[in-house]
Amino acid sequence: MISIQQNDFNLGDEYAALVAADTAAGAVVTFVGRVRDVNLGHEVKGLHLEHYPGMTEKALQEIVAQAQLRWQILRWRIIHRVGDLQLGDNIVFVGVSSAHREDAFHAVEFLMDYLKTRAPFWKKELTANGSVWLDSQEKDQRAVKRWE
């Protein structure tokens, strides 16, 4: 399930939902992305996250479908927050359960790499000198290329 929401999420609740009544899941991998205090060498006060409602969900569904072709995924969950976020706030959750750890590890990395380069979200950084939209980063483009 995909959720785009302003509210925070609870890691324990999400883990519980990934494994509830499923004894086939021998592995669960979860990733949480958070608002960091320093980005590219300057101090960050917070973030504003914008998205393209409708396309975001569609792009993420396509990313999940691609992951399901590559790995044995039992359950999966993606949550991405939008709106105003403070330092240390959670931004994104990706969780995958699988019979074995290799599939779960790879699938979560793949989902994050594609989410960062394909899903229509935009970050605006709040700094001491005002707010500025972030540029896409070459390292994220390189990260997604390894799956091609």
Partner: protein, 82 residues
């Protein structure tokens, strides 16, 4: 009509998030962009940015793509979520 959307930095630069264009003005997205620039000359530099991405009905496409009545076309900067 064709629904046109702008997001993030581009939305702020144009001071516009959404507008409608009559299909008679554009057969392709490239023509749609040229029409918007003709109507709003101050948008020229922002809409000519080579890095902009374009989505047709919520799927990323090339600017040469043709458009139909009822289509939704979005222009936006490279994505930075996650």
């Amino acid at each position: 009509m064709i629904k046109v959307l702008f997001f993030a930095q581009l939305r702020e630069q144009l001071q516009c998030s959404e507008l409608m264009v009559a299909e008679a003005n554009a057969k392709t997205i490239a023509q749609l962009r040229d029409f918007l620039i003709a109507q709003h000359p101050q948008w020229t530099d922002f809409l000519s940015n080579e890095k902009l991405l374009i989505a047709l009905n919520q799927t990323v496409v090339k600017i040469s793509q043709t458009v139909q009545p009822g289509d939704e076309v979005a222009f936006f900067p490279p994505v930075t979520g996650g």
